[in-house]
């Protein structure tokens, strides 16, 4: 297997130990300004990047920038675009659907993030051991993540069937007299969706934690052992601090993905019963693509983006303060 790079190496300049990045190599000095060599390098560089860049610029970069502008316009299926100023955002504040969707999205994140984090870390710790057959367990526990979302949603929907689904039959068996109605009940639909999402996602984050665990030098554990530390003490004093960058990264990724959730909920409940599982992504889809109200849906989208960005920045700040 190729070396498992540091989990936080997704940052622009990765701190991989195997080789320095391009900029420090003495064999590759920066060409001096305005030299023909430098012009040649620019041409060659762009020729490599261009095939991807044209597609990327046209279909990602331009739409991203356009999204910011659209949010300040009135533009729907019947009217040409016109400037709206902040009126779309004023409408957001009064919009009952937006309030419900925002609350549901936040509740989903509040359930999904800590549960997935805890379970994936637990799994990674269990699986980070030298045991016969451990690779098999890793692969099997990761598998739900690569399964198609639609199949997962369909199966869990049936498992959660209130009257004769296996989940409630099991709950009956262990003595629950009145098990929840799950996806048929406004109160329990969101928990049902969260359980399914945690089941599906934990294998993915487990892989990230495993990669993080493998970067902790063995000597630390040996030193802890010489000092007489065991089990829990070692976990809290060696594993947890060393794993902090990974944990932070997982936390950020999980939060972003929680706020983006759409497919799973849409296939399982279509946002129902009522509006009990309506989330922001589904609202953007409904307003923008079904109703054709491009301007207002872009305002919702911008709000979603700003919320995610604010949370991410807040998490970065918190992390920085802890490091100091």
């Amino acid at each position: 297997m190729t070396s498992l790079a540091e989990p936080d190496s997704w940052l622009p300049e990765p701190r991989t130990t195997s080789a320095g990045g391009g900029r420090t190599s003495p064999a590759n000095p920066p060409p001096s300004r305005r030299s023909p060599l430098r012009r040649r390098a620019t041409l060659v560089g762009w020729s490599f990047i261009l095939p991807n860049f044209i597609g990327f610029a046209l279909f990602t970069l331009v739409p991203v920038l356009a999204a910011f502008v659209l949010a300040f316009t009135h533009w729907d299926a019947y009217n040409p675009p016109s400037w709206a100023g902040l009126r779309n955002f004023a409408r957001l504040l009064r919009d009952e659907n937006f309030r419900v969707a925002l609350t549901n999205t936040a509740l989903y994140a509040l359930g999904h993030v800590p549960l997935t984090l805890a379970l994936s870390l637990g799994l990674a710790l269990l699986l980070n051991q030298k045991l016969r057959g451990i690779a098999f367990f890793r692969v099997a526990l990761f598998f739900p993540y690569v399964t198609s979302l639609v199949a997962v949603a369909i199966v869990w929907n049936m498992l959660f069937n209130p009257t004769s689904g296996p989940v409630n039959q099991f709950l009956h068996l262990i003595g629950a007299a009145d098990p929840p109605g799950w996806t048929a009940s406004p109160t329990w639909a969101l928990p049902a969706v969260i359980i399914t999402a945690v089941w599906k996602d934990m294998g993915y984050y487990m892989v990230l934690f495993l990669a993080g665990l493998q970067t902790i030098p063995r000597e630390y554990y040996e030193a802890a052992s010489v000092d007489g530390a065991t089990g829990w003490r070692t976990f809290w004093n060696v594993t947890v601090p060393c794993l902090r960058p990974t944990t932070f990264f997982v936390l950020v990724m999980l939060t972003i993905s929680s706020f983006k959730v759409f497919d799973l909920i849409f296939v399982m409940t279509q946002g129902g019963p009522g509006r009990s599982t309506l989330v922001l992504s589904q609202l953007i889809y409904q307003v923008g693509i079904l109703d054709g109200d491009f301007g207002y849906s872009s305002a919702i989208a911008l709000a979603l983006f700003l919320i995610v960005a604010a949370i991410t920045v807040f998490q970065f700040r918190l992390q920085q303060r802890r490091e100091q």
């Binding site: 920066p30 762009w46 990047i49 356009a66 051991q129």
Partner: protein, 291 residues
């Protein structure tokens, strides 16, 4: 947490330690087996339901093993729904997008990691920044563009939207950074052009990376629901995911048939995953994010 204990000075304590170690191991296996059962139960239930009569799927008590083995579900599904067409559509999309993504992604990654020119790092930062923007935030402008170009309800729209993602460039660059610049420099001195270096040195050296990106892209495209759902309205263009989701509405009482369709939609991914799982896991551990 596996702490290699220093060997005890006394034989007796060493023996006790070995005993404790064995007990720990057994306990660990038990915990893992329980977890495995919990995680895999939905799959087993899906498989067993796909081989039942509709009325037996949600029976009380649960039939883990079908009473009658209804193998005919796997025969009749092809005529009940255009499953073969769905599978073909998913394959066309996934293969095309994967091919373009790997090709342009690895090509661009070379430019971003092995050629130095002004503005390179700023441009790369632009790529990275868009990865952090949720797709939902810009799907409306994308949709308007495609609508204006009359490309909605065609494969081309999805291919254009998904084949040039920043993710592929980013993942490949991560791997290319681990190739020493000295190697590239030496090849340049030997008179090889940058295109030659990419094709003859960098690509062969990063085959595992190509495999990672190809597998991740293929599976993501195969499993994508929201993209095809928004863009493909004609039934003859539907992918497996859209077709499957439409089953729920159309054949809501045909539980067994729905499960059969689910199994069929998962099998290609399962096969690919089992063959290439180490590349998957390496790719995810390197990039830390999906496309």
């Amino acid at each position: 947490m596996a702490v290699a204990g220093a060997a005890g000075p006394l034989h007796a304590s060493r023996k006790a330690k070995a005993g404790r170690e064995r007990a720990r191991r057994v306990a660990l296996y038990v915990v893992l087996a329980v977890l495995l059962a919990i995680v895999l139960t939905p799959f087993l239930w899906m498989l067993s339901s796909s081989l039942k009569h509709d009325i037996d799927v949600l029976s009380i008590p649960v039939q883990w093993i079908p009473k009658d083995w209804v193998w005919s579900n796997y025969d009749s599904i092809w005529s009940v729904a255009p499953m073969a067409g769905y599978l073909a559509n998913s394959s066309i999309l996934a293969v095309t997008i994967t091919f373009l993504q790997v090709l342009t992604g690895s090509f661009a990654a070379y430019g971003f990691s092995k050629v130095r020119f002004p503005g390179r790092d700023a441009l790369f930062l632009g790529y990275i920044a868009t990865i952090a923007v949720p797709w939902q935030a810009y799907m409306i402008p994308q949709y308007i563009m495609m609508q204006q170009a009359h490309l909605t309800d065609s494969f081309l729209s999805l291919i254009l939207l998904q084949a040039f993602s920043a993710f592929g460039v980013f993942l490949m660059r991560q791997y290319y950074l681990s190739i020493p610049d000295e190697l590239v420099e030496a090849a340049r001195l030997d008179g090889l052009s940058d295109y030659g270096i990419w094709a003859r040195i960098v690509l062969p050296l990063t085959k595992p990376a190509l495999a990672s990106l190809a597998l991740l892209t293929f599976v993501n495209t195969w499993n994508d629901y929201m993209g095809p759902f928004i863009y493909l309205s004609s039934n003859n263009l539907w992918t497996v995911q859209i077709g499957l989701a439409s089953f729920i509405g159309q054949y809501s009482a045909q539980y067994a048939m729905i499960m059969t369709g689910s199994v069929i939609s998962v099998v290609p991914v399962l096969v690919i995953f089992l063959v290439g799982q180490r590349f998957f896991i390496a790719g995810i551990a390197t990039s830390g994010m999906k496309g």
